[in-house]
Symmetry: C2
Subunit: 233 residues, 2 copies
């Protein structure tokens, strides 16, 4: 019988924030697929599960998702990833591909899932704690209450819509915000005195920062801003 | 020494979708606080944890959050809840208050947390899997990819902003949507032929429904719609 592919969200960084189901699946599969930008690269998701899962007896299958500017190279890399996985599934082995945070929010896993599913294999997705839920928990603030609305926005490339977003939504989670903090802060200071902004960098890791905007600070790629109308309560 | 209050997200319905941390905290506290609309009411959150946590030796503290139309009655009920919790904390007992899904997304727990924290007690929040992550996982769709945006919107009371929301966001999660499915569907059919809509009712429970819009169907209070530009991939 052919193997099954699981997409497993391992949560935002703290190993204990994995679900019981994620742990069970990772304990039971013989192969753990680890998405990397280039083979041999250190994987944050793998480091997280190592704290809880015994991977000694498992096959770790590095799966390259090239971020090359050349589209053909990126597509060739994805095709190769899918073929690697298919070969193992054909051998009857179950595979769990791990992904940081939740699988449905900005994860490249969905592309693999759809291709494998369309090829007729069984697939299953195990959701994970999102970075924004973990940050809100750490900071002890809500993301939305009562009838409030919430917008989840990835890295802002330009500043044109920013004021409109803040005007339309009670709360805004700005993901991959490291490069945009200055713009966002300026927009808030100029237009929205009653807003509060929280910056969270590498939440759940040893070098995490959760606090006010600090324009002097060098922030990691994993930086999120939470902006709330009327301030954080 | 005074006790500590934990706010624990127990996830969307499937007991195994609790985090390892949530299980550890619930295993270790002597008191589990259960928010209810009226004393004696059946609690979905309590039913979920019962599958995994041995509650025989625990004190179950029902905490009433009145939904009475009278504001004074609602406030009196909240004050009473806070006093109940404070009394136990003063006795040096740790308490975990359970909440469905994630603690930061539309949970009444935050009100309790802030009051208890302001009164000088230790508080900690354990995030949970949100209903929309669980639904996306079950339906094997993404909520946001690449540079896409995501809006989380609670029950729509009127139809005026609906088209604008769908125009501004790549993906929209409409929570507590049971009463609005007809309006939403009409708006999509009239304005957005390239959108797809998924209805999820009681995801993770035995009587779950995840599928297309069915205007004949009676949906539960726990109904969510996921609307994606260009259809679900």
């Amino acid at each position: 019988m052919e193997g099954k592919l699981y997409g497993v969200g391992v949560g935002p960084g703290e190993a204990e924030l994995m679900t019981i189901k994620a742990k069970r699946i990772l304990d039971q599969v013989p192969i753990i697929a680890v998405p990397v930008k280039s083979i041999g690269e250190d994987s944050t998701a793998l480091n997280i599960i190592k704290e809880i899962i015994d991977i000694k007896e498992k096959e770790i299958l590095e799966v390259e998702f090239s971020m090359d500017k050349n589209k053909e190279k990126r597509e060739a890399s994805r095709k190769n990833a899918i073929n690697l996985i298919k070969d193992k599934l054909k051998e009857g082995k179950d595979i769990a591909m791990i992904t940081l945070g939740d699988v449905s929010i900005y994860s490249t896993y969905m592309y693999i899932n759809n291709s494998i599913k369309e090829a007729g294999y069984l697939t299953e997705i195990i959701p994970g704690i999102t970075s924004f839920s973990a940050i809100a928990a750490k900071a002890q603030i809500s993301l939305a209450e009562g009838n409030e609305t919430l917008a989840i926005i990835p890295a802002v490339k330009d500043n044109t819509n920013l004021a409109e977003i803040f005007r339309s939504y009670d709360n805004v989670v700005m993901m991959k915000a490291a490069g945009s903090i200055k713009n966002i802060n300026q927009c808030l200071e100029e237009n929205f005195k009653d807003y509060s902004a929280l910056v969270a960098s590498k939440c759940g890791f040893e070098d995490e920062y959760i606090g006010k905007v600090d324009l002097e600070r060098e922030n990691s790629y994993f930086t999120t801003m939470i902006i709330k109308k009327g301030g954080t309560k």
